[in-house]
């Protein structure tokens, strides 16, 4: 099979993208691709047409086919997902421009026309070998992190925690005697911490993991929710400064999920103050498995999404 693929000016060969409604305030959309489900070479070639020359170069630099495919799918997921949202402008996935903030967090660079006000869309992606995910919100920043449930840690977990995590977190992990459970709790904590620093837009280097503690708190929130919605009230996830635990940065909310029975996904978003974010309201969450141009499957409220932490409404 030898498919030639040239960058084209017009996307006439690509099927149209199904449009989407923007998430509402306090709502998060989570999209994910399982790379193993994308097998069509023709489709991968179509995805590569969407990328900027710079992105194609980055994909090419990855070592080996699997890494190239993963990098390609990640860019395709971001471009197609953002382009689908109905905003005051028609977005072409190929023409979207991206830039990085001073800490390296990618963001959309909207056109700077006179009459154009950029949509309040925020996104963040994460990928691991077997899942690529993209979270989308309006008005507020978002950070997400994905890790395979079975991921093995090469270093000693407690030594790693002592080096990088807060004393409170080390204590919690040390108290777990079962090594498998300890490994799982470590990964969950890692994804939550990563999601937080990515939501902050600063990343690991600017917000060392030792400077804050993430922990679970039994939820005391009584949620009023519409019949038909499911609200998980297992436990709340909170973040505290290591130096000043009483002074809680209370404006961040978290979700910790087990997705497709195979991955931990952590989501962190800022609470939307305009919507009365001071009170503890559930995070509305819509989770969809997707193959761009091919299909979306809404998996919210199914076995594919297990809520492990956070007050979540699906």
């Amino acid at each position: 099979m030898n498919i030639r693929c040239f960058p084209r000016k017009f996307s006439s060969a690509l099927p149209p993208l199904v449009p989407l409604q923007l998430p509402s305030p306090m709502e998060t959309h989570l999209w994910y691709i399982l790379p193993n489900e994308v097998k069509s070479v023709a489709l991968l070639n179509q995805y590569s047409e969407l990328l900027s020359p710079c992105e194609r170069e980055n994909v090419n630099r990855m070592g080996g086919d699997q890494l190239k495919k993963r990098a390609l799918l990640a860019r395709a997921l971001v471009r197609t997902t953002i382009a689908r949202y109905q905003t005051n402008c028609q977005m072409n996935p190929r023409s979207l421009k991206f830039r990085k903030n001073i800490y390296g967090k990618p963001e959309v660079e909207w056109k700077n026309d006179d009459n154009f006000s950029p949509p309040p869309l925020h996104f963040n992606i994460s990928h691991t070998s077997s899942m690529i995910a993209c979270g989308v919100t309006v008005n507020v920043p978002i950070g997400i992190d994905v890790e395979g449930k079975q991921r093995k840690i090469k270093n000693d977990i407690i030594a790693f925690a002592q080096r990088y995590f807060s004393p409170c977190e080390v204590k919690l992990l040390t108290a777990i005697s079962d090594s498998e459970i300890q490994r799982q709790e470590f990964i969950k904590l890692w994804t939550l911490k990563e999601a937080y620093v990515k939501a902050l837009g600063k990343g690991f280097s600017a917000v060392p993991f030792k400077t804050f503690t993430i922990r679970f708190k039994a939820s005391t929130i009584r949620c009023f929710h519409l019949p038909g919605n499911s609200v998980s009230e297992a436990s709340e996830v909170i973040v505290e400064s290591s130096d000043d635990p009483k002074n809680l940065p209370n404006n961040w909310q978290f979700a910790l999920l087990e997705v497709a029975a195979s991955h931990y996904v952590a989501i962190c978003t800022e609470k939307d103050k305009i919507v009365g974010g001071e009170a503890n309201r559930p995070m509305k969450l819509t989770v969809r498995k997707t193959i761009p141009f091919v299909e979306d499957v809404c998996v919210s409220g199914t076995d594919a999404v297990l809520v492990l932490g956070g007050i979540i409404e699906q």
């Binding site: 030639r4 990855m62 890494l67 090469k154 990563e194 990343g203 280097s205």
Partner: protein, 135 residues
């Protein structure tokens, strides 16, 4: 196997056994690394002769990276290899840094972690920190 033509990217086939697209540099990796350190860095006038890390350091970093990322023995890792291009995610990178700290008896501030993107970056930082330790 993926191949590149100019600005386009084409996949010709996907098979379960993926061949590495780079030629492995078995047996001559030490010389290759030394050659790297004598080259002018593109885009800058930085000569790497005197401040490049020793080949042994680079080799050791390669070994730690290879182990962390579970790369096959014949996969090519050189000073120029970018962690991300080898498939390292954020947790891998931190695990690698921790492995380097233990191996070389150094402490890498989180702030520096951002600047380590290649094997050579890591090796150079290791040498710098070791020099500081022994000063």
């Amino acid at each position: 196997m993926a191949s590149i033509t100019g600005a386009s990217l084409k996949f010709t086939s996907l098979s379960n056994s993926f061949k590495q697209t780079q030629v492995p540099l078995r047996g001559i990796s030490v010389n290759y690394v030394s050659f790297q350190s004598h080259r002018m860095q593109p885009g800058s006038l930085r000569f790497r002769v005197s401040c490049a890390a020793k080949p042994e350091t680079v080799d050791k970093v390669c070994e730690i990276v290879r182990k962390q990322l579970a790369l096959p023995n014949d996969s090519s890792i050189t000073g120029e290899s970018k962690f991300a291009a080898l498939g390292a995610d954020s947790l891998d990178t931190v695990e690698i840094v921790m492995g380097l700290e233990e191996e070389f008896g150094i402490s890498v501030e989180e702030e520096s972690a951002q600047s380590i993107t290649t094997v050579q970056d890591a090796a150079d930082l290791i040498e710098k920190l070791r020099e500081k330790n022994s000063a």
